[in-house]
Amino acid sequence: MATVEIRNVRKAFGPVQVLHGVNVDIADGEFVVLVGPSGCGKSTLLRMLAGLENITSGDIAIGPRVVNNVPPKDRDIAMVFQNYALYPHMTVFDNMAFSMKLAKAPKEVMEQEVGRAAKILGLEALLQRYPRQLSGGQRQRVAMGRAIVRNPQVFLFDEPLSNLDAKLRVQMRAEIKELHQRLRVTTVYVTHDQIEAMTMADKIVVMNGGHVEQVGPPLELYDRPANLFVAGFIGSPAMNLVKGGLAEGGFQAEGGAVLPLPQSLRGEAGVYGIRPEHIQLREDGIPATVVLVEPTGSETQVVARIGETPLTCAFRERVTARPGETIRIMPEMELVHLFEAGSGRRLAA
């Protein structure tokens, strides 16, 4: 196990700069998720950590050692690829034992190590099969087994669940998290799915356009997004972001609605943020016209308009309102976020 330090790392492919000075510190045994939309540079960063891409400038250190010029095999890392990258012509056993075979380990050691990893992942019965004969989830497990066998300092996962169906994804998500809790190996996990990030991470690194937008524990990102990008990216359904400005008695939205503000929040605010789940149905609320009702069972998502401003709300209660009808809603005052107009930065409460 080891710490990982990423210091002012830049990456350019020819004239195209894809990472603009990224800094991340990862503690020993931590589960860090790099999350961001496609093309934000998260996979490139992971591949640089693995040694599959070289570093244009900056330093990456694993433990005390700067690994910029260390070849991948000597970095003491193991990676799980998006397409698993299982060797199709080898059995599960051979796939998992391949690194030891290359290192000319004795057969007993290979059997012992593979047996250990297979037991952790419940793969004992499948060791003589070929990847073709496995289901998606089993292949995923073999790919993890191949990583576990190597006893690495750091696990790297590159969108490992994106090829699985929704149900299996939830199951594997739990398995990976449980595995991490058991093995306590430093893990860097790349995904574009913010729910994966929220549920698995000790620490989330939100990336966008080659920059780090915010680093922090999942709930901190949820409660105190540093800027508009993080506010819109973390949380599902996404936060309502309403443009406008401060006015008498609250926040004057461009659409004409006046939204309530706590006294403590003041400043050059340009955007008003409220999460759908932080809007309540209240007798004394603001009248709003229902546009769309989407019941999901556990909650009901309603799009309602105050004046011309649409707000997405997620109610725990069952809402029987139909489009065109009026409901009374009220944002929870202490959970309102305000952002600066130009920079999109959060205004501290």
Binding site: A50, P72, A78, F81, Q82, Y87, R129, P131, Q133
Partner: protein, 318 residues
């Protein structure tokens, strides 16, 4: 919102004419679609093959239809040193040329699979020997191997001074045999290189990345990933290559005509020699037919020995 209702209209049911109905009838459609291909195969493959096999059991000569003589032609061939000579050279020619083509072709394919400047131009150049008509390249080789005007001799003797005498490429048996093999390798490389390159490109780069992380050296990546993953396509390309090489005719006929002293006869050139200029159609056909067992063996060998592996199949293990 309101919409005006259009007057009710339904598409009138049309009775299809007999031609349409005929082509909708599956058995007829299948027959009609198969006819052109089946016709071509019957006229240009089955008929000549059948005729060849029939002739091999007769004593037909040019100008006289022959009589059924059973296995007499084959019995005669077994005692014919020229036939044995051609069998030996056909096998030798195929063996050495195949090894050469695959060694060089695989090497080229691996090179071209890297990121090189002018990659597509290089690929196009590699294909050239294959595009040039065989007889044309054979004539070029004829000049290259000419005892007086050979460019190789010119370079080695006059320019570099490595040798004292011009090389007699085609004048004696063994040099002639190897010269033809070299020409065949030159012609065969593009087919092998391009096919194997296609095979190489189907191997996912992430496998190499995974192997890189697993600590493999370049040779180990070739040995444990490239080679086994290339095996299926290698087997097919090799089968084709062996068949084409074993049945080669043009190159040998254009360069040496089987000479000197019949030392470079392949079965195909010997069959032609006996059958057409020699007039012994039955015997020539018998020589041609005698190639079939070799080809069947080569095909079966690569089909069963090399082709589909268990890991390629999707079926369960138990």
């Amino acid at each position: 919102m309101s919409a005006t209702t259009a007057p009710a209209w339904t598409k009138p049911q049309q009775q299809a004419n007999w031609l349409v109905r005929l082509f909708d009838w599956k058995p007829f459609l299948a027959f009609a679609c198969l006819l052109p291909a089946a016709g071509l195969l019957l006229v240009f493959l089955t008929y000549p093959l059948g005729l060849g096999i029939w002739l091999a059991f007769t004593d037909t000569t040019i100008g006289r239809s022959g009589y059924w003589v059973g296995l007499e032609n084959f019995q005669y061939l077994l005692e014919d040193p020229l036939w044995w000579n051609a069998v030996f050279y056909s096998v030798f020619y195929t063996g050495i040329a195949t090894i050469g083509k695959f060694a060089l072709g695989l090497w080229l394919a691996l090179l071209l699979n890297n990121h090189l400047p002018f990659k597509s131009l290089l690929r196009a150049i590699i294909l050239l020997p294959w595009i040039v008509p065989t007889v044309l390249s054979a004539i070029a080789f004829w000049w290259i191997y000419d005892p007086q005007f050979s460019i190789i001799s010119f370079l080695l003797v006059d320019k570099l001074g490595i040798l004292d005498n011009y090389i007699d490429f085609l004048g004696s048996a063994w040099p002639a045999r190897f010269s033809l093999i070299a020409a065949n390798i030159w012609r065969g490389i593009p087919f092998v290189a391009i096919s194997l390159l296609a095979g190489l490109q189907t191997i996912s780069p992430s496998l190499y990345e995974a192997a890189l992380l697993d600590g493999s050296t370049g040779w180990q990546r070739f040995r444990y990933i490239t080679f086994p993953m290339l095996m299926p396509i290698l087997a097919i390309v090799m089968t084709f290559s062996i068949i084409f090489t074993f049945t080669d005719f043009q190159l040998v006929y254009a360069i040496t005509r089987g000479g000197p002293v019949n030392s470079t006869h392949l079965l195909a050139t010997l069959a032609f020699q006996r059958g057409i200029p020699g007039g012994q159609l039955g015997e020539g056909a018998a020589i041609a037919v005698s190639m079939i067992p070799f080809l069947v063996f080569a095909t079966l060998f690569s089909y069963y020995g090399l082709a589909r592996r268990k890991w390629q199949q999707g079926e369960g293990n138990d």
